[in-house]
Assembly symmetry: D2
Homo-oligomer: 452 residues x 4
């Protein structure tokens, strides 16, 4: 058999299916990434949480171990792996979406912070893509370069409080020009990363032309320095009790915030276009990280149910009830979800995100539910310990749960995929009609009558 270390962390069959699509560089980088995560990052994750203080300081702390890990990763050449040179020639690394997808699964095993060690964590990744693709030279110099260097962090301010903002036409934040300035007023929440002391810039989506007949031209995006007067971070929103410090998901009021006109991204009315372009590969990254989280949960479950100190009534945990069946199902579900996402990544590599919308959409609604189920089974195997702060499972579950509505709720994606399938109906019907037509000829040829 082939012997890359990825096999042990994922599966031989998925690797056999894609191995020949990996460049030597990608294989080597992947091996290096695995070694770095296993030997340096995963052992540091509890220290990371322990270095985070309680109280107000919680939001003012640059966590020492993370700073060290980032330095180390950069030295190893494990940096900005998400940014494919094929799509971002000026700034990218020579990795395809497929190749990074496998790396994203490895990162997903270590929890949210593991991605940051290699400067691949949301929302910075999407923001860097936006700035690399649409930013002016000045914007790139000021914000993209330090982001690529991991010196600052950023947030993407779209979701609004009291508003059903998954329909972008409901957005109420106003972005208007006054002289050579832009004035922003709005009330956002769930702005990830905005609580971080390193967060230097917000990409704010708002309405700049609410009356435009084309509802997809009403929105613009503007760069707002985090310390601009009028930017008020109200509070962190919690997810199942977790505040996700130091980054947080913050409620923010923009109260007459003023920035220079040059902070407009791409142009007036380009907001919707930008958010559309930002989504495709990012969704695949989320999916692969989720698969990594699920795979890690299954591995934790394997360790738990074979732990001799957990025997009850003289039997290992795996000898009770439906544990073995749960493990088999989890394995099968992870395996098939992984292949689904990898096939979407290949589709993106071949036909860009636009040519992979169906595959991305399917992955988007299939993977989080799958991962939630696998993690839930692992939690059940751990009992009370599984839902508490001593294991990562509950926090992982909570994070995964948000993926069922982030970037659009499951139902929206399911409807879109269903609608896309319906577009196949005319061709499918034509094919069946053709068979029926020929069928009549065959009946005639053989002189058979049928009740048709």
């Amino acid at each position: 058999m082939s012997s890359h270390p990825i096999i042990e962390l994922t599966s031989p069959a998925s690797w056999a299916m894609i191995e020949d699509k990996f460049s030597p560089f990608a294989k080597e980088t992947l091996a290096k990434l695995i070694k770095f995560q296993q030997e340096e990052v995963w052992p540091a994750m509890r220290v990371y949480h322990a270095q985070l203080p309680d109280g107000a300081e919680r939001w003012q702390t640059v966590i020492p171990v993370m700073a060290d890990l980032k330095k180390r990763a950069r030295a190893l050449g494990l940096w900005n792996l998400f940014l494919s040179k094929a799509h971002y020639p000026a700034h990218g690394v020579p990795l395809t979406n497929l190749e990074y997808a496998v790396m994203a699964e490895v990162l997903g095993r270590g929890g949210h912070a593991a991605s940051e060690t290699v400067n691949c964590s949301a929302p910075d990744t999407g923001n860097m893509e936006v700035l690399a693709r649409y930013g002016s030279p000045e914007q790139q110099k000021k914000w993209l370069v330090p982001l690529l260097n991991g010196e600052i962090r950023s947030s993407f301010a779209m979701t609004e409080r009291f508003v059903a903002s998954s329909d972008a036409t409901n957005i109420r934040t106003s972005i208007r020009q006054e002289g050579d300035e832009i004035v922003i007023n709005g009330h956002k929440w769930w702005i990830s990363g905005a609580g971080d002391p390193r967060c230097a810039v917000h990409l704010v989506l708002g309405k700049s032309d609410a009356q435009n007949a084309d509802r997809y031209r009403q929105q613009s995006i503007v760069l707002v320095p985090a310390d601009a007067p009028g930017v008020r971070v109200v509070r962190p929103m919690k997810v199942f009790g977790y505040d996700d410090a130091p980054e947080g998901h913050c409620e923010i009021i923009y109260d007459n915030v003023r920035v220079p006109l040059s902070n407009l991204v791409l142009g007036w009315g380009k907001g919707f276009e930008i958010i559309q372009g930002r989504l495709g590969p990012g969704r695949i990254h989320h999916c692969m990280r989720s698969i990594g989280a699920a795979q890690n949960a299954l591995d934790l479950m394997l360790a738990r149910v074979t732990d001799p100190s957990r025997k009850t009534f003289g039997k290992y945990l795996y000898e009770h009830g439906t544990v073995i069946a749960d493990i088999a199902k989890s394995r099968a579900e992870i395996e098939s979800a992984r292949l689904l996402v990898l096939s979407a990544a290949i589709q993106i590599d071949k036909y860009k995100a636009k040519g992979a919308l169906k595959e991305i959409g399917i992955a988007k609604f299939v993977v989080p539910s799958m991962a939630l189920q696998v993690v839930d089974r692992a939690m059940q195997a751990f009992g009370a310990e599984g839902v508490c702060q001593d294991q990562t499972l509950a926090a992982t579950w909570a994070g995964l749960r948000t993926l069922r509505f982030a970037d659009g709720p499951d139902a929206v994606h399911i409807q879109q995929i269903g609608q896309r399938e319906l577009k196949r109906a005319p061709e499918v019907t034509r094919r069946f009609d053709e068979v029926r037509k020929r069928e009549k000829e065959v009946f005639a040829k053989y002189g058979v009558n049928a009740h048709l």
Copy 2:
């Protein structure tokens, strides 16, 4: 985009994932197979059923349209596609398991009889594999050659009535030597193909050495001509009311049947070894045909729910209830199951069936349930018409339902996969322990205390 006709029948993403593993010959053969099935086979399937008489003749009829289609297929070079030259150099065709897997999906769209048109239908396929691998030259000449030519058919007699024969040690049929003859006594049922007038030979599994301490050496397989004295076909077993004529799944009594010693396959006590070797690729074929059946059901559903003549209360069927969501889920489930089976096929091509046991096992328990669910949703869209003789859905469902226990019930495969996963536990535990060990060093390095 790439433009092979398979894309329309399966999906662009799965094709993109495997296209570069297809030889030019395989691509061309696949295209030819699709054309033949669409234009000649599918339009003939109702005639096939209409040519089957009622009453006793039902079991004595060679169906004219099938005979013609087989001639045609052979002329087109679409013949014995299942038999991979890589594993059967003397008799095989130059196709990999992966390449045939995709063809098997195409065959699966046409129902059970479609596979026969290209001489690829069970149980003949498995029997040909057995004879090609283990048969003596004499046995090959007498039985394998006419099977490869599609001149005769065959059956595999393993399951026994009144016996839990999924545990082969429970087998009661006796096979014993008397002089230069073998005498067979036993009571089998569910012997597929034995009702067919063309069925010329049974491969009968029985106990030849019930006292052997090695329970996997107690069984032998012997070739029994269908017309040997003492072979009594009692009745066809029905599956949900279907008799599956002309092949049937028959109850058979072997009453002092005598065959020459040369009819023993491979040697005394080799029965278990033979049935093990017979299973791997065959399971993948079943899975791919099931996926074809599911994909066809989804396509039928698409045609139905967009049919203007089926509108109720002023709306298309797809505008009601959860139809669109059902379609989206079906699509996603088919897509992921297909990738799972294709990855198992690649694994077989790379590492033989023995190196693909986990992947085959997962496919074996995942695919039938998936396909049943998809077909069931389609039936629901068709209402009463969906469960009756005017559509293929109910018969398809019934056939798929048997796959949840044929070759071992789901539960057995689920347990085996679970047990195989458990074998990963020591290595997984070692990895977690290693992380914990390094973690202590990191805690020490940063001078942090934690409640561990």
Copy 3:
């Protein structure tokens, strides 16, 4: 504990919940019914099927054992138990819907034919209700009396071929007056009972006033003698592979059928009103029979998995995989579904079918899926034997499957229940608003500020 024989066939807890709502007569009748079914009917069911010939006679045979059982049941006073005196004072028996519901479960254990032994089988039951409630004295004398006596049988002709007839406004059958006659032209299918040689009358639904602005006044129902000229039974529709002889579900063409004007039921334009009134309690009966079928399947599974002759690898079937968990879930699902239907029956007894629409609707979509799942698990425990003619499970499953669309597909009932729940929204919202209002007072009282 209480000691009625029903406990052993259903459950102690459900009986404890309803026992005090049973009259002494009902308790006694129930006990008599159980004894009759167990000792005389269930042992006769295979003979019933064996007495049914193959070929054309299949549809011309009055099955001897059934005729005898009906005589016996009538002599025992077990007759027309479905017809509650409370709602049908002239013809009914002194049983409530709740009391009959429990009896219907007992009948459901014996398969479809068991209900006929006590003259309680569809579609006769619904037709008797229609004639008892809406029939003229002449109609009652001619059709209701022999139906109540079990001398003839009947069918209800509503569903149409090539038409989405679940929307009654799509009905195409024409019913028009010519002089003192009514002329019927139409193409129906799935007309249950119409294949039976004893079927004497069809209740035919058609359009008598297609232009009526009120779409619920366009339909009428007319009584058509089965032997009227122009009534042509085309063929039986099969459910999966079953023809359900001798009753069948027939395709029928009404070709210029003429009946006297007095055969009109209730009046012109009353068709929709009649079919609405026909549905409520009948749905509950179907549900309870389905629960009986599920309970019987679970009992069969219990017997199978503890059968020592079915051991594999040295273990009972129940010791393998998830069998015990499957049994536990089946028990729980049956138990909760039973309570759901019994509570709907009580609701009907208290508030008529109109006051129990939500409960009936819930039962209608919950019970068939539940029963299918339980029967499917039992089939799986039986392996191949479970899907064939030697066990009742597959035929039971096929019959239950039709209940997911008969009288309206699941989706319609689910949507209706959902819509009914939505009607609670204003009151629910008002309640939450009230809490929010008082909440502000409490905040003020305690001088606390909150981020609301």
Copy 4:
């Protein structure tokens, strides 16, 4: 229709099924409880949380609004409703288990703290039952009376860290006599209520006779004052991110804690007997509160999806995707689960907990999963707001999740119910055999042959 206010909060059909089992006192008390909860408790719940400080004070605070609500409840006669006079004549209130079960559902709508307002919150309820049944007069005077008065709180210390303590024989805490004192050493966690400043006593389970051949006689329970020297509360365990202050689920080390011999409950070796007796009705209470939580979540969902300010793309939320179907299913699932638990409560009232083990076990594994699913659907309807601190749904979900392993994981209860069902197998088999025997007679009588 009947008009009790409970109907609006639960369902007309479940009330119709049990109304006649309610005493006038119970009906009146229930009405009073509903009014109190709706008008005073539910509007106070956010204030309750707002009055809880951050930091260390969090665990030292008696929350003012709770103190006031308890006074008010007691004045209204809404107090200790869980303690049925039938089982606890000296201290109980005249309510059956069924009657309190309905009240527990009402309490469950208000979240965990609502039960405390009427002195019905775990673990005090179970502890009061223990002391009322097994406590010495001295123990009752010292601990039971102030608990009944709501003056102190208590905890039950059973679960141990590093130990699979769901198997009580694994318990490591040692309880041994030294002179006229008892010495306790052990390491517990997940001890609910132990963080509360009002917690005055722990009921500690430990091994007093680890060598006893009867493994159910090795344990004893001893009363430990919360402020006894050597009792060290280490930290609160979190459930997901929630610390559930002020009560908490604490890790506790008992380090050479000494109490007088008179603090032993019931006698040496009686620990297992006591915990068994403690479980039955308590499980039903948990179930009914869970059902209340689920019903409340469904109501929140109804309000949300009909909220005009939440429209997207011009449509109400309920007009999108599968929302209506989700609502219908939630309604059906709540309804059937409620009936299941009510029937278990009736069973307890009739036959004590020992006669209701199957019904209690079914409820135990069915209800939490059902409630989790309903709450999850509601969360999904709320999007990000659903998982955060502004709605109760996420905290409710997290609390419900613990019920899938508290008092034994689902799998244990499922296995027990499955095993109990298997005990029916001999009787069921006997019944089928009897039918088969009579069947032969019927075949003979009618002169029919069958392939049996």
